[in-house]
Symmetry: C2
Subunit: 256 residues, 2 copies
């Protein structure tokens, strides 16, 4: 990915712990450039390092102290806030985007972007937001929409992962559906199983359909289908053996 990754800016964070939390989220979601406006002192034995996880090795120690002016001059700026204006009469916090729509929109443009977060207590103030290019707000519960600073940053950076994470720990395709031929064999085995079990003949077609729906929507893997084929092959053999023995007993009985 050649795209330039966003930088993260925190304006006047009050507690080193939150700076550490943000640094960790940055590393979790593939970001590295952290810029702080008027930060508290961040020492090696502060909570910032305690909360940063592995980001204590790189993101946090290379965080840079900057002015908001320098960020505004050099980046496309997105200010994050829980509090928006809801109609078009005031433009300080309106219109706004959401983290998901922000991720979509940044995908379509090559730009240096700064994601800007505000203080724990009061967030970004109006004077700051007025100077930023976009406003972004996390949809949350109307009755308590204000996330903690570190948690808000985590959500926003999580949503931007499509732009910032080159490779996740998860495989691209989690699993492959077993071949249809094998799945059909499973349905045949299951039908034979109903037969061998002496299942009610009138319900059989309906129950076969039910199994087809259940297995069908679970998108079984090779392994799952093979294991189940084994389970039913064995059960069917046993059921047939049992029936034959029973038949023999019955026949014996008849002969006696």
């Amino acid at each position: 990915m050649s795209r330039e990754k966003p930088v993260v800016v925190v304006v006047e964070p009050e507690t080193p712990g939150n700076v550490g939390t943000i640094a960790r989220a940055m590393k979790n979601f593939g970001l590295s450039e952290l810029k702080l406006v008027n930060p508290p002192e961040i020492t090696r034995n502060s909570e910032a390092y305690g909360f940063a996880g592995h980001a204590r090795e790189d993101v946090l120690p290379s965080a840079e102290t900057v002015t908001l002016e320098s960020v505004i001059e050099n980046y496309h700026t997105v200010g994050c806030t829980a509090i928006t204006n809801e109609d078009s009469r005031r433009h300080t916090r309106y219109p706004f985007t959401t983290p998901r729509r922000l991720a979509e929109s940044l995908k379509t443009v090559e730009t240096r972007t700064a994601i800007v977060f505000g203080r724990e207590g009061t967030g970004l103030n109006n004077e700051e937001l007025e100077r930023l290019d976009e406003v972004c707000s996390i949809p949350a519960s109307e009755s308590y929409p204000v996330l903690n600073l570190g948690q808000a940053a985590t959500v926003v950076l999580y949503e931007l992962r499509g732009l910032t994470v080159d490779e996740t720990q998860l495989p691209d395709v989690e699993r492959t559906r077993a071949e249809e031929r094998e799945i059909e064999r499973l349905y045949d085995f299951f039908d034979a199983f109903l037969d061998a079990s002496g299942y009610n003949e009138r319900k059989r077609a309906k129950t076969n359909r039910l199994i087809r729906r259940l297995v069908g929507r679970a998108h079984p893997t090779d392994r799952e289908v093979n294991t189940l084929l084994g389970v039913f092959r064995r059960a069917n053999e046993r059921l047939r053996d049992g029936r034959e023995s029973a038949d023999e007993v019955a026949n014996d009985g008849g002969r006696r």
Copy 2:
């Protein structure tokens, strides 16, 4: 929404702070039932209350201590972990879903669901995961996929908000695009503005198209279009006045 909301279960949290962070995320995203398996002592002056925000008033004090067994018996359980098995030979951590796919899939089914998180240090162990119904993993950077417990919970609960948040603080439709007739008037005003400014006649059509593209993709509001109509109306009047004055001066000059 009549759907039963998921409950959140934390197995052996080590630090009260993370319990508080999770309680806050729950309240931010519309959840209320927190269940703790073998938790640390959580006192009113512990970090749990410090980190819980307004959730200190309800979610946190009503958290219940439970056994994992009782959760497994009574809920559809989803275990969250950063570490998955990547192929179908082992089923403890495979197949797995992501928070976004989990939200999609829970939308289609009425069920009591428990979202289960593990310890800070080691997460959920294999014995625990084997007994849970689904495995969920947050896609993160391959080089550091392990989120802090509180941050992981925040991301998962954020993704589930479609099931759990009745009303967000954001309006359903953020803004309404101005009426097309008004936007067309803006383009007319802009064209008149180019004319009145003495803009190069050969470039005029091209520049009009450029403006149509720029304004078109910004989906302007009523307010924005009206303000711009006012800006150009005034500018066009001035430009025409200036031209008339200039014409008069030119005519006067001619008469002299």
